[in-house]
């Protein structure tokens, strides 16, 4: 069964909740309208269609758009190495959706990472703690409104962090952003 046929079967099962499969570079993506049903869709994909391997869960911050968050699930069927991507949106006010740990145990750390980096919570997760940042860190660093240089924060009883000077660091080339003179204090002439 190809990825497209699998996607059509999921659509037949869940009806209007699932968008028409989209194809880009040979990869099939379906969009789930209601994030609350993600665990059901994933469970059905695993049980009925044999998607036994969760490759990855990613998160997107559509900053300035509504809904703000997009969750991206990469499913794989090991038997024929067929892959399927399921995307679903979550609003910023809610910032919550059900966990898929009951379907694949590997979701545990992926969901913790998304909570840590983006601040999206997974309902029913048994151990939703930060994973890469330390417990008590106040920000969600992969959000688009978090600056690349970082923000000052405390590491309890150990140390503190400061924004990075970015000297010789990443050469920021975001289109439409500030130009090099605005951005880089070292090239400013004294008059400015």
């Amino acid at each position: 069964m190809t990825a497209l046929e699998s996607a059509s079967q999921i659509k037949a099962h869940f009806g209007d909740l699932i968008s028409e499969p989209a194809e880009f570079r040979g990869e099939i993506t379906i969009q789930l309208a209601d994030a609350e049903r993600i665990a059901d869709v994933c469970a059905a994909a695993k049980k009925d269609l044999g998607f036994d391997f969760l490759v990855d869960i990613s998160s997107l911050d559509n900053y300035g758009e509504d809904p703000r968050w997009t969750l991206v699930y990469h499913l794989r069927r090991l038997a024929d190495s067929c892959e399927l991507r399921i995307k679903t949106n979550v609003s910023e006010e809610k910032s919550e959706l059900p966990t898929v740990i009951s379907v694949w145990l590997t979701a545990n750390w992926h969901e913790r990472e998304i909570y840590d980096m983006m601040g999206i919570r997974f309902r029913g997760h048994p151990d939703l703690r930060r994973i890469l940042m330390w417990e008590g860190y106040p920000y969600f660093p992969l959000r688009k409104d978090f600056p690349l240089a970082g923000k000052p924060s405390e590491v309890p009883d150990v140390a503190f962090t400061k924004p990075a000077p970015l000297e010789g660091g990443p050469f920021v080339t975001a289109p439409g952003g500030k130009d090099a003179i605005e951005r880089e204090p070292r090239v400013r002439t004294p008059e400015n």
Partner: protein, 423 residues
């Protein structure tokens, strides 16, 4: 923008108090032991909080993130080409393979992966397989060292030194190679390099055999690794393990076979698969993978278009001035090349909007890049699916029930790198 969080973090003092309470509840029968983040057996900065009943582990909670550098955030703020050096620092034991994985992911997004010149594909496969041998050599060397087999460590490091010399001749750097470019490689193989690879292959097989005589039928080695850290096939799949750890558990799954990229389709090799899923099986799988890599490399050297020193001047980059930097002499004389050079350096290549995931069979497992582009020269979001991160997530399930001293065997056999785990 309001910050959304309703999870209350405990004060450190309150945390300590509750930990003491928990300890008293155990009535002295169990103890909590902190292992790492700086411990020789954790191969980097992995911390594991263990709960012990005598010498038996009853609970283990791994704590990662000590090497977190925010690579995904950094990637959003630079052009695709500028991120290549950061990929060296993911799995820093196999930088050449990471370079190839990243370049292939961006090329998939651009839709040019089928246009790669054959010589470039062969060079890249050779890079991947050299990186695989290098990574497995270190993994097995450190694994042996942790279990007391110091000789193996010395043997593997002697061989790794030769691979570093090859990497230096190829890219100019021993460690942080940054060898690939989007649409090709930074330079063709230098004169004599292919012959040096052939010489190395003939030497390394001798040493692999010697390592095997030291370990495979060694009573101490077998006692320490057999039936220790058994991962069932179902668990391996459920926890998303990949690479040698998945194959060690009996799952015949290798991305080079099932989703062939580059020229792997034209190359003959076997995929070793374990039967029990214990540390010994994972060791055997890695040992055999090195032999298969040698086999692949020999075929590459036989088949590489243009021959050893590229007498026929085969291209190593795609012929697209909007993706690959033009030759320097043309930049100084041609208008079109000058414009291409200028645009590529200041804005990066123009990548179409869209999203792709590309999984690469790295030495440690499946290294995947999910790239979400909204057009332009920088990714909107790049997620790195790192095999070490996923492979380590099984620890809290795997360790309980084992002896304290088995941890070194289990960690060594899982063969992870924290630079990649924490990103």
């Amino acid at each position: 923008m309001p910050e959304v969080h309703d999870i209350q973090f405990k004060e450190p003092a309150a945390q300590a108090a509750s930990a003491v309470e928990e300890l008293q509840d155990m009535q002295g029968e169990k103890m909590v032991l902190n292992m790492g983040p700086s411990h020789p057996a954790t191969h980097g900065v992995l911390r594991i909080v263990l709960e012990l009943d005598g010498e038996i582990i009853t609970k283990a909670s791994p704590d990662v993130g000590y090497l977190h550098r925010g690579d995904e955030k950094i990637a959003e703020n630079m052009t695709y080409t500028q991120f290549i050096p950061y990929t060296d620092r993911l799995d820093y034991l196999a930088p050449l393979a990471n370079n190839v994985a990243y370049a292939l992911a961006v090329e998939k997004l651009l839709g040019i992966e089928k246009n790669l010149p054959p010589r470039c594909q062969y060079i890249r496969v050779m890079c991947c397989e050299l990186a695989r041998i290098s990574s497995h050599l270190l993994g097995l060397g450190a694994f042996g060292l942790d279990l007391g087999a110091v000789t193996v460590f010395l043997l593997t490091f002697t061989e790794r030194e030769k691979i570093y010399n090859l990497a230096e001749a190829l890219s100019g750097a021993r460690f942080t190679t940054s060898y690939t470019r989007i649409g090709g490689v930074s330079r063709d193989t230098p004169p004599g390099w292919c012959a040096a690879v052939r010489k190395f292959l003939n030497e390394v097989v001798v040493n692999i055999s010697e390592m095997e005589t030291l370990l495979t039928r060694n009573k101490i080695w077998m006692d320490r690794t057999r039936d220790v850290g058994v991962i069932s096939k179902a668990d391996a799949i459920d926890y998303g393990l990949s690479g040698p750890n998945l194959r060690g558990s009996g799952m015949d799954y290798d991305l080079r076979k099932v989703q062939p990229y580059l020229c792997y389709r034209d190359l003959q090799f076997d995929v070793p698969v374990g039967s029990v899923g214990d540390c010994y099986d994972r060791y055997l799988v890695r040992m055999e993978e090195m032999r298969q890599s040698v086999r692949i490399l020999h075929q590459c050297l036989d088949k590489i278009p243009g021959g050893f020193d590229n007498q026929t001047r085969e291209p190593v980059n795609v012929a697209d001035g909007k993706i690959v930097l033009p030759p320097k002499d043309k930049v100084m004389s041609g208008m079109e090349e000058l414009i291409h050079q200028f645009m590529l350096v200041t804005q990066g290549m123009n990548v179409p909007p869209g999203e792709i995931y590309f999984g690469h069979e790295n030495p440690k497992g499946e290294l995947g890049f999910y790239i979400n582009s909204r057009g332009g020269g920088t990714p909107y979001r790049m997620k790195i699916r790192s095999p070490s991160f996923v492979n380590l997530s099984i620890l809290s399930h795997l360790l309980p029930g084992h002896m304290m001293s088995d941890i070194t065997a289990i960690l060594g056999s899982l063969d992870f790198v924290m630079g990649e785990c924490d990103r």
